[in-house]
Amino acid sequence: MASQNTAAVPTLPEERTAAQGAFGFTKPQFLTFLLLLAFLVGAPFAGLYPVFLMKLLCFGLFACAFNLLIGYVGLLSFGHAAYFGMGGYIAGHMAKVVGLSPELAILAGGAVAAGLGAVFGWIAIRRQGIYFAMITLALAQMVYFFCVQAPFTGGEDGIQAIPRGKLFGLIDLSPDLSMYWVVAAVFLIGFLLIHRIVHSPFGQVMKAIRENEPRATSLGYRTDDYKLVAFILSSALAGVAGATKSLVFGIATLTDVHWAMSGEVVLMTLVGGLGTVFGPVVGAAVIVTMQNYLAEMGAWVTVIQGGIFVACVLAFRRGILGEIAARLRVKL
């Protein structure tokens, strides 16, 4: 029963039909990318709160990393909070206790998350479909328990007062705007990296696995190896996102390793559009904005999130960008 791993994503219009733009983007994608770029540069000057923008970008990168797995390999990981949160803890520890500069702390967070992803991915790819989701969830729960107990995470208190430090030992990041440019750069690098991976020959094999794994195997691809590499890449980028977030806020806490966070990133990607290039960013923006403005509503936030989940699955499986793309008959 497990071998019939059908596509998790509605098939989108063939990309070869659209004209090619720069960076391997199609023309509409390139236009959207320019829009995103304009937003990144303009937003802090348009009166938007920089800390809020940074939070948005961190979650945007997190969602893109998650989308790399679900959207292009068809693997639903329900434990991505483990890599996001662990990245945050490692970066926080490195910046605060070891005294690394921010760029090294972020890299360290990504590296440890990649290692964790390698081990968990190796175990989890033995099963497909919903089993894969349950296994990743259970393994992530183990990480959560580890983080509650481990001395360096500070248990319930978390790691507090993490210094933003000086970029390359030179530029002081404590002003919000300076930090913003760093976060924007990290986001763009991560985003373009994912785009590059997806459009490489490696990415084509990933998509072949998503569409029909037995056929990919019969073509001579060692699908397990491809899945594992995709898993490691995804968890590394999730770790980078978490690491950046912990530097922005100066804290790393249990919230980011909890299973609810794993659910949130699934929601962001689903809302934006599974398997679209820009969808996860849009989804992250929608969910983070919603959380921010509904903070006073307490537990209703959970109810609303659940409602969005249900609505998306039942009625808008393509997500916001997927829906727009389908209307315009382009690929976004």
Binding site: Y131, W259, F309, C312
Partner: protein, 294 residues
């Protein structure tokens, strides 16, 4: 006093027994998941929330309507099972033609809604539910005091699990169910209303979760989070057992309860993670699970 591995034997027997009690909950919950999975091919992520709803329904019946534990034991699975039937009929059945993952996402979303609503209504500090007077008190077993209620939980859960097994393996209805699992359209062609059977199966699985919730209400704090903490462990139990057989999920549930109980004596700090570690080992050695079909 005899000692086994440095632990007094009476203490060890007591712990084994307690492990069995926790195992009873694992077994009942993984049984419900297995029944649903067998026919619907979805993982019911709402299961934890439905377990919690069962406990709350027992509390509501007692405090709002004045119906006691024994009535709750019969009514609650029916009421919560009916909400399950409604849920299947309104939402889940729209997803059968899609990838199974959408079923998982949908039930996860519904779980969030239910948990959030209960937290709004009742807060999260938990509600009291007393042990029914007929089952309060304790037996002196020589090596430990066993609260009567805990003994009842194990016995009752065993009976329920056995009954479910008999229904599925030994009755005509069960035969239809198993046939529909293998080839739904063929069974439909024989004039059996498969969609209705699927709906009722989901309701029954949900009812099992609610029944476990009623059993849990007197000993655990009745709070909105009680299900979500448990369900992740139950998922691991399901992965270890594999969802191939009803009996398999019951044996795995009880067995892992005992293993967890023993860990609480020898290495209490690890008792939360031991099931996940076992899951990883089983996956490496036997990816389909102990009782699963590859």
């Amino acid at each position: 006093m005899d000692e086994i591995f440095g632990i007094p034997a009476p203490l060890l027997f007591g712990q084994l027994l307690l492990g069995l009690i926790n195992g009873a909950f694992y077994a009942m919950l993984s049984l419900g998941l297995a029944v649903i999975f067998g026919l619907l091919n979805i993982i019911n992520f709402t299961h934890g929330a439905q377990f919690m709803m069962g406990a709350f329904a027992a509390w509501m019946l007692l405090n709002w309507v004045g119906l006691n534990y024994w009535v709750a034991l019969i009514l609650v699975p029916i009421i919560i099972g009916a909400t399950g039937v409604l849920m299947e009929w309104l939402m889940i059945r729209r997803l059968y033609k899609l990838d199974h993952l959408y079923g998982l996402l949908l039930t996860f979303g519904i779980g969030l809604i239910v948990e959030g609503l209960f937290r709004n209504e009742f807060g999260s500090s938990g509600l009291p539910y007393q042990i029914p007077p007929q089952l309060s008190g304790a037996w002196d077993l020589g090596f430990m005091f066993l609260p009567v209620y805990r003994g009842w939980v194990v016995a009752f859960a065993l009976v329920i699990c056995l009954a479910t097994w008999i229904v599925i393996e030994k009755t005509r209805l069960g035969a239809y169910l198993r046939a529909a699992t293998e080839n739904a359209s063929l069974v439909q062609a024989f004039g059996i209303n498969v969609p209705r059977m699927v709906t009722l199966t989901y309701g029954a699985g949900v009812g099992l979760a609610a029944l476990a919730g009623v059993l849990a209400a007197p000993i655990y704090s009745v709070n909105p989070q009680m299900g979500s903490n448990l369900i992740i462990v139950v998922f691991a139990v399901v992965v270890i057992g594999g969802m191939g057989s009803i009996l398999g999920s019951v044996i795995t549930g009880f067995g892992l309860g005992v293993v967890e109980g023993l860990t609480k004596v020898f290495w209490p700090e690890a008792s939360a993670t031991v099931i996940f570690v076992i899951m990883a080992i089983v996956l490496l050695a036997r990816p389909a699970g102990l009782f699963g079909r590859a």
